[in-house]
């Protein structure tokens, strides 16, 4: 987004003169929505960000939380929605590159990637092209840098046919004492290392801060090109610099390029900087303006004390990395850039780094009433056929076609792998029993129908996914994908999502330690894509050999339903897949039930009483039971009359309601009494509603049998639906 006339006027006032073209470009980059959060900053203050585990909160390139004494997890999420719409392969790949570099800035070792993809319908050729390119981009980049992609979320919806949401997250590990983040001091050197700077990605963050043009080809120059080999060398060389304590501070050259990197550090530490732009290593001849705002990838800024420079240089040379010492931090508070001796920029760093926050107008659109529409009459349908239809939904069926393209094993930490459980589990190190669990979630349909409750449900869903493997959730990062903040009826969705997130995070006691906001997710017709709150949570696992997966383990076990089912099929996958409706009240967030029910599930896993666990989410109980049966190759029979419920009038409500705070747990028949006793103690409503079978059958009863399906049919549907739509 170019600067507005008012902003240009403000810049004149700050400088007391006409800005140079270079200065204007720097302001445009730094004051873009992407870099400055000017439309969201006031509302972001609502988020709970503190907690006893929080070591580094929002503000740095990435936050850090202490997961075990002396051990930190550094994690962060980022969106690359706009670049991925124009060039899916490079857009997604450079998203991975950027988020990994954010983790590196704190001196952490990146150990996991997550990809959260909200894509178009695969029957649409353009959407299919985007989807394939995005997956290939993540695969090629993530695999080459040796960071496993271990979890994520995928959603297919026609709203995303032209403008996908590509959210990626990275998780790193570091010893607390090794976290990088000393204050840079006057006299410290500014070293840029990595790829030579080229003309790619010029003002990319400005491009990401406006709606997608009708002819996306004209924006192609704003997309950067990915070079994973250089990224891998950056990872290796920075690890060495950090281990040897040779650097004072590290910053990614991401959105806004050199301008953002220098001005944010200078502003944060009340410093100024002097830069000699011609010293930067370049790919082609660039003007000083281009040098300042290029977003060429795989570059980092390293702040070094002068006497340590020779050692630092030796490390870069070992890895054949190009670098240049382009300037020095000063105590002046001004950023001065020279090009061949001529001063092209002289601005106060504080004014550049933070434009004034804008209070945006927010107004609920008429469309929001869809989320209040009661669902009165639905035609009778076959439950068995509906189970198959729901299970075949690309939003539910196995994502094997995607995750097998990712190396999810490199690092030799992945204990619970994609497709086996509700979350991925990593051990901290070889031979270490301690671990972490990670997962990411969103439901664009929920946030579209009811942004407040939808965002809250994303937090809860992710929370349950961690609990279901036996992890205690400790922190959140979020990505709010919204429409055009200048349009009140789109900004309303952002405001509501943020408030829902803030409320639920607070209720569950989880700090939101970092995140991103992505605005202007509109298609070429000015229609916002489904506003989407993406949540990534990290949980602590005390013993990775005692985690739960979701595959039924054996016949003859009791199937225990944890939590109460309500008649909540509004906004459900069932309502959409089977009845073609995308309306209704979405399931209510129930934070106190979440906390209570999770305490039981964690206790069952800790005591070794849970053979398998699965949270009930999209597709309801019907889909959850089918997934457990298919993955375990074990049949199941459940009597729906025994499922704890309130107010359910119809069988399909019991099978497909997406009520929150529920789990299915498989327990040995001999431990049922103990499980029920624990549930009573904790005040959790549970029931033994069925058993696993020795035969390959999936059966739901309500009085008589209401659905009976051979496991083979379910397996084919579950495992091959997505794959066949990519063929």
């Amino acid at each position: 987004m170019p600067l507005t006339p008012e902003e240009v006027e403000e810049i004149r006032k700050v400088l007391g003169r006409e800005p140079t073209p270079e200065e204007l470009a720097m302001f445009e980059a730094q004051w873009s929505e992407h870099c400055s959060y000017k439309s969201s900053r006031l509302l972001l203050k609502l988020l709970p960000t503190g907690g006893s585990r929080v070591l580094v909160g929002p503000g740095r390139d990435a936050p850090a939380v202490e997961v075990f004494p002396g051990l930190a997890v550094v994690f962060k999420i980022e969106s690359h929605n706009h670049p991925s719409a124009v060039d899916p392969y490079n857009g997604a790949a450079t998203g991975i590159g950027g988020i990994v570099r954010d983790i590196l800035t704190l001196g952490a070792k990146p150990v996991a990637l997550l990809d959260l993809l909200y894509l178009g319908e695969l029957s649409d050729p353009h959407a299919s092209w985007i989807a394939r390119g995005v997956v290939k981009g993540i695969s090629d980049y993530g695999n080459r840098i040796g960071v496993p992609t271990i979890a994520g979320d995928t959603w297919f919806d026609s709203f995303f046919n032209r403008q996908p949401l590509v959210n990626v997250a990275c998780v790193g590990l570091a010893r607390v004492e090794d976290l990088v983040g000393e204050s840079p001091r006057p006299g410290d050197l500014i070293v840029i290392v990595g790829n030579p700077t080229g003309r790619d990605g010029l003002l990319g963050s400005s491009f990401a801060s406006k709606p997608l043009g009708e002819d996306v080809d004209t924006d192609i120059g704003a997309v950067q090109v990915a070079d994973p080999l250089t990224e891998k060398l950056l990872i290796d060389s920075l690890a060495e610099l950090v281990r040897r304590k040779l650097v004072r501070y590290i910053k990614d050259l991401g959105g806004g390029g050199l301008t953002t990197a220098v001005s944010e550090v200078a502003a944060e530490f009340n410093l100024g900087a002097e830069l000699d732009l011609e010293r930067l290593h370049l790919r082609s001849v660039l003007s000083p303006l281009e040098i300042l705002v290029s977003e060429s990838q795989e570059r980092m800024m390293v702040v070094v004390e002068p006497e340590k420079l020779p050692e630092v240089v030796k490390v870069f040379e070992k890895y054949d990395l190009q670098y240049s010492v382009i300037g020095i931090f000063k105590g002046s508070g001004r950023i001065v850039a020279r090009y061949r001796g001529r001063i092209v920029v002289d601005i106060p760093s504080k004014e550049l780094a933070k434009p004034r926050a804008i209070r945006r107008v927010s107004k609920p659109p008429a469309e929001a009433l869809r989320g209040l529409t009661p669902i009165l009459e639905l035609p009778e349908v076959s439950i068995a056929e509906s189970v198959l239809k729901v299970l075949s939904s690309p939003n539910i069926s196995s994502r094997r076609w995607i995750y097998e393209q990712y190396d999810h094993e490199v690092g030799a930490r992945t204990v619970v792998k994609p497709g086996h459980a509700d979350a991925a589990v990593l051990r901290l190190d070889a031979g270490d029993r301690r671990g972490i669990a990670v997962k990411g979630d969103a439901n664009p349909r929920y946030t579209y129908l009811d942004p407040f409750n939808g965002a809250a449900n994303s937090v809860a869903e992710c929370f349950r996914n961690l609990v279901a493997v036996g992890a205690t959730p400790v922190a959140i990062v979020d990505e709010l994908n919204a429409g055009n903040p200048e349009k009140p009826e789109q900004f309303w969705y952002f405001e509501m999502m943020l408030k829902g997130l803030a409320w639920m995070a607070g209720e569950l006691g989880l700090p939101v330690v970092g995140g991103k906001v992505s605005f202007y997710n509109e298609d070429h017709l000015g229609r916002q894509v489904k506003p989407t709150t993406t949540i990534v949570e990290v949980g602590v696992v005390e013993d990775v050999s005692r985690v739960a997966t979701m595959d039924f383990k054996e016949g003859g076990s009791a199937v225990v339903i944890v939590g109460t089912t309500f008649p909540e099929i509004g906004g459900s996958e069932y309502l959409y897949r089977v009845h073609g409706l995308e309306v209704g009240e979405i399931p209510r967030p129930r934070p106190s039930s979440e906390l209570r029910n999770s305490s039981l599930v964690l206790e069952l896993i800790r005591k070794g009483l849970a053979l398998s666990v699965h949270d009930v989410g999209l597709g309801g109980l019907g889909a959850a039971l089918a997934e457990m049966a298919v993955l375990g190759g074990v049949g199941v029979e459940v009597d729906l009359e025994k499922v704890p419920c309130r107010g359910c009038l119809r069988v399909d409500e019991l099978v497909f309601s997406e009520t929150q705070a529920r789990y299915v747990v498989e327990v040995k028949a001999s431990s049922v009494d103990e499980v029920l006793r624990l549930a009573r103690q904790l005040g959790v409503e549970v029931a033994v509603a069925g058993r696993t079978l020795g035969s390959g059958v999936y059966r739901l009863k309500f009085g008589g049998t209401v659905a009976e399906l051979p496991l083979d049919a379910l397996r084919t549907t579950y495992l091959e639906s997505l794959e066949s739509s990519f063929r």
Binding site: K318, Q405, V410
Partner: protein, 229 residues
């Protein structure tokens, strides 16, 4: 203590995993991660070339690393009987360097594939398979885009009667490899290359329904070197 070098090229990414798995299994072997510029062949008892994307897989997987000076040193070591193991990209490098027969082509699916598979070992011999009886079943994960083994008929009839082989079990070939070949050794077994990752197939990393197939290979080299291979 006997010493094993893990050679790291630009883009290698499984080097640390191997060092850590030796420690995890407590194998009593000194293992060091050696940057390719610093490798000197004479000072090591065995060499492992790990997986990853050396030189970003530019040209062909393994093609550039195979032509580096360090591989000349490895070649000289092989002539002296130095045990060398190539895993995934390491296998691709050994094949490109013509230290092992055949070629590794892009997967039949055209896609990178990461999944657990089952293999069977034939004619185990040499330091890497000391503890592996004929017909052993070793489960491990693969993770590669160019792992489709190709070999002409003449060479195949030679290796299939003389060399150690790892074959994917029927139905578990992930990439369309000829004759289901997952790995191949030199006649005496001192050089071994395989696409699956033994360092990822140990203990708690093994999913339900599979065996930790990497442990036998790693324990084999340790015991072979300690006995004095």
């Amino acid at each position: 203590m006997v010493r094993v070098a893990v050679i790291k090229f630009p883009g290698t990414n499984c080097d640390e995993d191997i060092v850590r798995v030796f420690r995890e299994l407590d194998l009593g072997v000194g293992v060091e991660n050696i940057w390719y510029k610093d490798f000197r062949g004479a000072s090591w008892d065995a060499v492992i070339i790990p997986g990853g994307f050396s030189y970003g897989d530019w040209l062909r997987a393994g093609a550039i690393a195979a032509r580096t000076k360090v591989m000349e040193e490895v070649r000289e070591g092989v002539a002296r009987g130095l045990p060398v193991l190539g895993i995934c990209n390491g296998f691709q490098i050994l094949v490109e360097a013509e230290l092992l027969p055949g070629a590794l082509l892009p997967n039949e699916s055209g896609r990178f594939t990461c999944r657990w598979i089952r293999t069977v070992v034939e004619r185990p011999r040499g330091p890497w398979l000391t503890l592996v009886p004929e017909g052993s079943k070793l489960d491990m994960p693969v993770a590669h885009a160019e792992g489709r083994y190709y070999v002409d008929e003449v060479t195949y009839s030679c290796i299939s009667s003389r060399c150690p082989l790892l074959r994917y079990e029927r139905g578990w070939n992930p990439n369309g490899s000829a004759y289901d070949i997952a790995g191949v050794g030199s006649e005496d077994g001192s050089v071994l290359g395989l696409m699956p990752h033994p360092e990822r197939a140990v203990g708690v990393l093994t999913p339900r329904g599979f065996n930790p197939g990497g442990e036998a290979i790693l324990r084999s080299i340790a015991i072979s070197l300690r006995r004095g291979w």
